[in-house]
Subunit: 345 residues, 2 copies
């Protein structure tokens, strides 16, 4: 694209956004209008106050129409083949008559666009298919901010009739935990063979997964992948079960063999059935709603304290005293807090 | 003990506490005086303001003499044989010339005394041995409160010359995570055979452990225990390694065979050597110090908000709206927060 074209495009978009109101946009989103959905999500990500007001209203209006999807979290270290997997699995879902939205969480991405933009160009077929909506990660933000925007984007996508929402994360920082707390089914992609590739996976993540999928199980890799599958399946049996009674499954997959996609889809369907039968599907969502309410509230309260520059300096100083063994952690915390309260008076 | 005896004992203890000052008590603790150590820890647990002032000073005075121990966390579901294990392992440590303190964390215990009091009477030999100090869990408190008291008790025990501190937890609520954040080595006791007993272990705990020990590996159980050991060891290899490079080990043990205790002791020694060589031993402690400073600070800040009765009612109401899908988690959090700020003005 030439500079002039980009300017033109931005101008057009701004014009469109100037004339929007939440009610009209909701109506358009409810008809499944992709452009309206994109505009809606852009509003969610905007830092302009007037946009925020519309965005809030938009979410409120869409909320009663949301919730009717399967939310699928996908994570795995770089190199595991996430975009190839999402491309294949996404195309399979479309072939089953599903409407698919792909969102991403990547708080590490400071640049506009985020990581999935690169992925999107790699998801050649999927990105131009009908009934699919791909959206890069809202960028340059705190995890809390990104999580909020993603959670709200899920609601808009659901209102627009997408019945399968994939949330992808690159697995940096705490983003897997955040994604796990906003999806119905959490899928961990892995390479076959336990070794260096495990270094990239944080401890505790495997125990969160509802399924492990060993990727690149084709050609010479098939034997190794099958062996890994068996080993992981045995291992997972030794670990405490989910409280919803689901025992995580391990599958192998090749992005080239549609057979794998079929099995993964059936597994997720089975999970949906299982958890809807024992009520845990709805329960998990309710717990997630409560979790995010409390998380957000805590963040708001704590930000008053922690975002203050003077406070930050004081924290650093006491942190050093504590790690040098000159003061206990508790005395340091109490001093910081009482100094703060003193200042408020 | 008769009632009159108990009264007499309490009277004596109170008299002793009336005449104490932090300096004298520190001097006594530094000589290894067990009665002084017990009095010190009682002061830590006291809710009286005057006691708190002395306790704070006491901790400050002991701090420079603390830190020279190995802190060992032990957890496992009820029935796994924790007290039998601690009795055997403790006696073994004593035979190696170590001085041992056993502390407990059990925030679920609402009664005075806590769970280990029962354990203590079951630790027949250990509780009357020399060079050992056993202390029940400070009771009827929040996890944060219990954690603080335990962390401070560790410092006093170290100042008194105990070179092995065992922190036991019954594994209720978040107590394993708390214990994991205050020890150098975290040991999970398990029963052989993967089945119902796994139900009691929370997901994520196994990935925290530095070692698994399969208990009751004697008599007919030996074969099953060895098989479980092999399976768990294989499983742990499939999981991401510790960032300190330590691969968790699995051992079997019989409380009747001292051989097991020898192996567990050697394993902990090996871990100590490994982590001291690569600096991660000290680093882990520094991170723990920082963690507790931040945790305590957050707790103090949040308690202003959450302990308010009006606030609690408002939270509950919005929680219901959120779980009924009438409001997003984020809107609810923002409303709670802005209402609160409004009231402060």
């Amino acid at each position: 694209m030439k500079e002039s074209q980009i300017d033109n495009w931005i101008q057009k978009r701004n014009n469109r956004r100037k004339n929007i109101n939440a009610e009209d946009l909701t109506t358009q989103i409810l008809t499944g209008d992709i452009a309206a959905l994109a505009t809606g999500i852009t509003l969610l990500e905007s830092t302009t106050l007037s946009d925020k007001v519309i965005a809030r209203k938009l979410v409120d209006l869409c909320l009663p129409h949301a919730g009717k999807s399967v939310r699928l979290g996908i994570t795995g270290v770089p190199g595991v083949g996430k975009s190839t997997f999402i491309e294949s699995f996404g195309l399979y879902l479309l072939s089953q008559g599903k409407k698919l939205a792909v969102l991403a969480i990547d708080p590490s991405s400071a640049k506009s666009g985020g990581s999935i933009l690169g992925d999107k160009t790699r998801m050649n077929e999927l990105s131009i298919a009908e009934n699919v909506f791909i959206r890069p990660s809202p960028a340059g933000d705190s995890l809390g901010g990104v999580a909020r925007k993603t959670r709200e984007a899920i609601l808009l996508c659901e209102a627009a009739g997408y019945d399968f929402i994939v949330i992808e994360t690159v697995g940096v920082g705490q983003s897997e935990t955040a994604v796990h707390s906003m999806v119905d089914f959490f899928l961990l992609l892995m390479l076959s063979g336990a070794g260096d590739e495990l270094q990239g996976i944080k401890r505790g993540i495997m125990e969160m997964a509802d399924a492990l999928v060993i990727t690149k199980a084709d050609g010479e890799n098939v034997r190794k992948a099958n062996q890994a599958r068996q080993e992981y399946q045995n291992a997972l049996h030794l670990f405490p079960p989910n409280k919803n009674g689901w025992i995580p499954k391990v599958l192998t997959c090749s992005a080239y063999l549609n057979n794998s996609m079929d099995l993964i889809f059936k597994l997720i369907e089975k999970y949906e059935l299982h958890t809807k039968e024992n009520q845990s599907f709805h329960q998990r969502r309710q717990e997630q709603d409560k979790f995010w309410m409390h998380e957000t509230l805590k963040e708001l309260i704590l930000s008053d304290f922690f975002e203050n520059k003077t406070q930050q300096k004081a924290i650093q100083e006491l942190e050093q005293k504590v790690t040098r063994g000159e003061m206990t952690s508790f005395d340091a915390a109490e001093k910081l807090y009482s100094d703060y309260k003193q200042k408020l008076k």
